[in-house]
């Protein structure tokens, strides 16, 4: 800590001006970053996620084996020559599947989660803030989506349109926003009646300003956790759809690998376990980051 405050008494008007500029205002984002860096689990999650991103975005340029090519004897166990992760029932290289299939998995998971958060946040915040008939209508719509069997509904959407990365992401996003919406609504309902919202209104803030700049930052911690859970959930959902054979059969993904090899689970564990481990690690990394973000952005926790 530097102790360089000049005595306020000697501040002439020029010095006064200088002093106004002087206080080193640490930007809230920088402070949050510092807090995040102090959280070992969160940093671990971030490193893990960066590793996975490198593996799926950069490594494919170096490991150019086509994941659909039949390269070795079927069901070769890991450690076999040329195929460190073994091969599946057709003799496809599992390492190539991991390397090339991650992109689709992450893209679908990320896009679906973003879509779920956007829809859920819009619906939930408007319903919670305005209440009354707006709340009534939006919540009935939410309930409609909630009572639909999600997997079935997603299957219908994928079946109606051509199964591609985009439609799968859309289908997952459309069925999984309700949790975000309900959480956002409850947070907005709670926060909108708090005194600092009243006081924001009393200094002349508009509804839009109150929603975005007053209530949303205060509702962020639980929503952030929910959003990261949504990413994890979407990745698992994508795996589920692929497992059922509903994903694009021409695009390799981790879920597709598990799905296509499911009959060989008892005989060749590696064909489903290895992509399963990668899905698990990705979801874990995202969850750890979400938890760390929650702690870092909550000023009340910063003092600890």
């Amino acid at each position: 800590m530097s102790e360089q405050h000049s005595s306020p008494n000697q501040a002439a008007s020029a010095a006064f001006e200088a002093e106004i500029q002087m206080p080193s205002i640490e930007h809230p984002l920088r402070e949050a970053a510092r807090m995040f860096a102090r959280n070992k689990a969160a940093v671990g999650g971030l490193i893990l996620l960066i590793g996975i991103l490198l593996l799926t975005l950069v490594v494919p340029f170096f490991y150019t084996v086509d994941p659909f090519d039949l390269v070795w004897a079927p069901l070769s166990p890991p450690g076999t020559e040329n195929v460190p992760f073994g091969t599946d029932y057709l003799g496809r290289d599992i390492l190539a599947g991991i390397v090339h299939g991650g992109r689709a998995t992450l893209a679908v998971g990320g896009a679906a989660a973003i879509l779920a958060v956007i829809i859920g946040l819009s619906v939930g915040s408007l319903a919670g803030y305005y209440g009354g008939w707006v709340d009534e209508v939006l919540m009935r719509i939410t309930e409609f989506f909630q009572v639909l069997p999600t997997l079935l509904f997603a299957m219908v959407i994928v079946a109606l349109f051509k199964p591609s990365v985009a439609t799968v992401a859309f289908a997952i996003g459309v069925v999984s926003w309700t949790a975000v919406a309900r959480l956002a609504r409850s947070e907005f309902l709670r926060i909108r009646s708090l005194d600092y919202v009243k006081s924001a209104r009393s200094i002349g803030s508009s509804n839009r300003r109150i929603i975005w700049l007053v209530i949303l930052p205060n509702a962020m911690p639980p929503l952030m956790v929910q959003a990261t859970l949504a990413v994890g959930g979407a990745i698992l959902f994508e795996a589920g759809l692929s497992f059922l054979g509903l994903a694009d059969p021409n695009v390799m993904s981790w879920g597709f690998m598990i799905g296509s090899s499911r009959d060989y689970l008892m005989d060749a564990w590696w064909t489903v376990t290895i992509p399963g481990i990668f899905i698990f690690l990705t979801v874990l990394a995202v969850s750890l980051i979400g938890d760390g973000l929650n702690d870092a952005t909550n000023p009340k926790l910063r003092e600890r």
């Binding site: 106004i20 006081s199 200094i203 300003r209």
Partner: protein, 331 residues
């Protein structure tokens, strides 16, 4: 001739409840002059805070409804003003500070940002200019080491400090009217005195008129020049602070004054017993046609229970709504 800054005429506010329509404020007439501190006194639930919210245009509608009247700020009727116009008024011309400094500040922004927000909203200042204004305001409200504390968050400050921040926020745009809704109720007694001094001091410097809402006659004695006593949505007595404290006419006002403990120099001296006002403020939907205070009033007679007393001037600037004054005049 002092200028009439804010004038409330025949204001009526109603709330829809399960038991029917509750007249939260009935025929309220108040005028506030430039540089004046007006005290509004009364128990919980007598319409003080609703008066404040009406002036701010923040009465929750529904279930609330402005049933009639006018609120004139410099001749402009705020009840007819559009919402965008009201947003300009709030914080810029009329500001408000709340009872609970512990929860009235947004926990995720630094106090500097929150004070600067007012200036940015109304004067379109850049962040740096607004922060300079915030620093100036923090100094004006007497926060020590303001240049360090400007970056602190509300949870790092005590209640008294937070109330100072609230005052800084409210006064950042030099409003003409400051509504203080029980600003010291949640604070320690010593801190209360500091806040009163601060408000009086700032009023002198900026000329802001203050509407001070409280149930504490001590606070009124400290702050106000004129006093309005409210009961169940009505003004029952209105006078200069000296008249109210020395010559209260309405039994309710007398009761409010008697229930404040007084310190005496020698504690052994026999002190007058502290008297309470029996009962509670009646539910607004259950008001009959008579004086709303009659059920709790020791002087009440049949006339009080049957008919609402009109507000009568018993002295220059001293209005009372009570049948007693008429009885006394007749006697």
């Amino acid at each position: 001739m002092p200028e009439r800054l804010l004038e409330i005429e025949d204001l009526r506010v109603e709330f829809k409840t399960r038991d029917g329509i509750a007249k939260v404020i009935d025929n309220l007439n108040i005028s506030l002059q430039t540089g004046e501190t007006l005290g509004i006194v009364g128990e919980s639930g007598c319409g003080k805070s609703m008066t404040a919210l009406s002036i701010m245009g923040l009465v929750p509608i529904p279930p609330g409804r402005i049933a009639g009247g006018r609120i004139l700020l410099d001749g402009e009727d705020l009840l007819q003003a559009s919402e965008p116009r009201m947003r300009e008024v709030r914080g810029n011309e009329i500001s408000m500070i709340f009872q609970e400094p512990m929860t009235s500040l947004n926990p995720v922004y630094s106090i500097g940002d929150q004070i600067a927000e007012t200036a940015r909203l109304h004067e379109g200042l850049s962040r740096a200019d607004a922060m300079a204004r915030a620093l100036e305001m923090l100094r004006a409200v007497g926060i020590p080491a303001a240049e360090r504390r400007i970056n602190e968050y509300p949870h790092q400050m005590s209640g008294g400090m937070r109330q100072r921040v609230m005052i800084a926020m409210a006064l950042a745009c030099k409003p003409r009217v400051l509504i203080a809704d029980e600003p010291t109720t949640a604070l320690d007694v010593t801190v209360q005195a500091q806040i009163f001094d601060l408000l009086n001091d700032l009023k002198e410097k900026t000329g802001t008129a203050i509407i001070m809402i409280t149930h504490d006659m001590g606070a009124i004695a400290e702050m106000a020049q004129r006093v309005v006593v409210m009961y169940a949505g009505h003004i029952i007595e209105q006078a200069d602070v000296g008249q109210i404290l020395t010559d209260p006419r309405h039994p309710y006002t007398q009761g409010l004054i008697r229930c404040v403990p007084h310190l005496t120099q020698t504690p052994s001296v026999e002190r007058p017993p502290l008297l309470e006002i029996p009962g509670v403020v009646p539910a607004l939907s259950q008001l009959g046609s008579g004086c709303s205070f009659a059920p709790r009033c020791q002087y009440a007679d049949a006339k009080c229970r049957a008919e609402m007393p009109p507000s009568t001037a018993i002295d220059s600037g001293h209005d009372v709504a009570c049948w007693l004054t008429e009885r006394e005049a007749a006697a």
